[in-house]
C-alpha cells in the first residue's frame, strides 16, 4: 500500500499541472490577502474578525483539492494509463484507496502552503502598520485547523466522484455545475416543498459546514464532518464497484 501511495504521489509530481496547482495557490492567496489588507481601514485591521477572514482566503485550496481528487482518478482513464496501473496492482480497490490517500495528503499540503502565504504576506504587513495580530490565537488557529482538514475531505470527495464518473471532462464540469448551480436549485426546491432542513445534508452544504466557517443554514461542525464522510463513503463505494466491474479496453 505504501508503494502504491508513493507511486500516486510521483504520478502527480511528474506532470506539469503540479506546478500550476502550486502557482495558483501562491498567486491567488497572496493577491487575495494583499487586496483585503490594502482595502481595509487601519483600525479594522487589528480585529479578530478581519484576520479570521484573511485566513479564509486559504479556501482556494478547497477548490483545487476537489479538482486534484477528480483528475488523479480520471486522468488514468483519459490517457489509458489505467492499463499499466492495474497490471501492477490488479486489486483495483487498493489503487483507489492509494489515490484517495495521495490526494488527501497533497491537498492538505496545498492548504498548509496557502496558510503559509497568508502568514508571510499578512504578518509583516500588519506589524509594519502597527496592527495587533491574532493570526496565531487559539480561535483563528482552530478555524485554520478545521479548514486544513476540510481540504482533505474535498480531495476525498473528488476521488470518489472521479471513480463514479470516470470521464474527466464530465466529472470536472458536472462537479462545478453541481456546486455552483445544482445545490442552489435543490435548496430552492426544498424550500418550496417545505423541507428546508434537508438542504443542510446536501453534500457540499455538509462540506461547507465541515470547514468550520459556519453559517446560518448549515450543520454545526461535527455533524457537518460526519455527513461529509457519509457522502464520500457512499460515492466511494459506488466508484469502487464501478471501477472493479469495468472492462479496461
Amino acid at each position: 500500500m505504501t508503494a502504491l501511495v508513493r507511486s500516486e504521489l510521483l504520478k502527480v509530481r511528474t506532470i506539469r499541472s503540479w506546478w500550476a496547482y502550486l502557482i495558483v495557490i501562491v498567486a491567488f492567496t497572496g493577491l487575495a490577502v494583499a487586496a483585503q489588507i490594502g482595502s481595509t481601514d487601519g483600525g479594522d485591521r487589528g480585529t479578530v474578525d478581519f484576520q479570521s477572514d484573511l485566513v479564509e482566503t486559504a479556501g482556494i485550496a478547497l477548490l483545487l483539492a476537489i479538482i486534484l481528487g477528480i483528475t488523479i482518478m480520471t486522468t488514468e482513464f483519459r490517457f489509458g494509463t489505467v492499463t499499466p496501473t492495474f497490471l501492477v496492482a490488479p486489486a483495483r480497490e487498493l489503487v483507489i484507496a492509494a489515490k484517495a490517500i495521495a490526494a488527501a495528503v497533497l491537498a492538505i499540503g496545498f492548504a498548509l502552503l496557502s496558510l503559509l502565504v497568508v502568514a508571510v504576506v499578512a504578518l509583516p504587513w500588519l506589524a509594519s502598520v502597527g496592527a495587533e495580530t491574532h493570526l496565531l490565537d487559539g480561535e483563528i488557529g482552530t478555524g485554520a485547523a478545521q479548514q486544513i482538514l476540510s481540504v482533505g475531505l474535498w480531495a476525498l470527495m473528488g476521488v470518489a466522484i472521479g471513480a463514479v464518473v470516470q470521464s474527466q471532462v464530465a466529472a470536472l464540469v458536472g462537479t462545478l455545475v453541481w456546486i455552483f448551480l445544482g445545490e442552489t436549485l435543490l435548496i430552492g426546491l426544498f424550500g418550496l416543498l417545505d423541507i428546508d432542513g434537508a438542504a443542510a445534508y446536501l453534500p457540499f452544504q455538509a462540506l461547507d459546514a465541515a470547514d468550520g466557517s459556519g453559517g446560518g443554514e448549515l450543520l454545526s461542525y461535527w455533524p457537518g464532518v460526519a455527513v461529509s464522510l457519509g457522502w464520500i463513503a457512499l460515492l466511494g463505494a459506488v466508484g469502487v464497484a464501478r471501477t472493479r466491474r469495468r472492462d479496461i479496453t
Binding site: 508503494a3 507511486s7 504520478k11 499541472s17 490517457f79 494509463t81 492499463t83 492495474f86 497490471l87 501492477v88
Partner: protein
Amino acid sequence: MIEVASLSKRFGKTQAVSDLSFRVEPGTITGFLGPNGAGKSTTLRSVLGLVHPDAGGATVLGVPYRELDRPLHRVGAVLEASEVHPGRSGRNHLRVLAAAAGIPRSRVEEVLALVELSTAAKRRVKGYSLGMRQRLGLATALLGDPEVLVLDEPANGLDPAGVRWLRDLLRSLAAEGRTILVSSHVLAEVAQTVDRVVIIHRGALVQQASIAEVLAGAQGATRVRSPDAQRLRELIAAQGGTVTDVDDRTFATDLPPERIGKVAAANGIVLHELTVERATLEEVFLELTGGETTQ
C-alpha cells in the same frame, strides 16, 4: 504457462471472443495471429485480468492473473503503445510503475538502456515517435524481469529496422528461457521469430500448431508439365485427382508427385516437369482466416 479455457466475451452486439481455448508452452515464443478485429486484444486483456470474460477464463503460471503475487515480476505486458501520459517523461513513466511495484530506480535505467531509449528518457512522451513508444512499452514490460511476456502488436508502427530490432530482442529474451506470447495481424512480422502459432478468426480458434505443422498441413499442389498432358490428365482424373489446367501442356493437381510419376511410367508418358508447389505461410494464413486480412 498461459492457459486460456473456453473464453467467451461479448461487447454489446459484438461477440469478440467465443469459446476460445489454447495453451502457451513454457519457454516458447508463440505467435497469436488473426486479422484486425479477430479478438486478439480482448483475449490478451482477459488473460491479464483487465477484461471480465462472460464465460471461461485464463490462467498465467497456474493462477488467474489477479491472484499473482507481485505480478510485474512474473508477467510483463505491453498492450498499447499509447497508454502513457503524454506529459510525463519516459523515465518518469517507468519510475511511477517501478515505485508501485517496489522495483529500484536502477532497474529503470537498465531497461531504458536495453530498449535503447536512455538518451530520450528525459523528454516528454508527447514528442516520441510510435517506434519510441513501442520501445517504452517493452521497457515497461521488462521492468520486473518477468518470466512471461505478453505483447500485443509490438511491431505496429515500427519501421523495417525496428521490426528487425524487435525480432532480435525477442529472440534473445526467449533464449534466456522466457515464455513469450506475441500478437500480430501481419504474419510476416513474426513468422521468423515464433516457434508456434495460435491463429484465431472472428473470436474462435482456427489452428494451434508449430510453424512446421501449419506448413505441412497446407495442401501443396503438384505441378505437372508433359507433351502428352491430355492423356495424363485423364489418367489422373481416373485415379480421383482433381486437375486444374495452367496451359496446354501444364496443369496442377492435388495428387502427390509419387503417384503422378508412377502413373506416367506405367503408361509410358514423358514428363518435362514434376514439382511440388508449397503454399507459403502467408497463403496458409490468408486461407485459414478467410482472406480477410488487409495486409
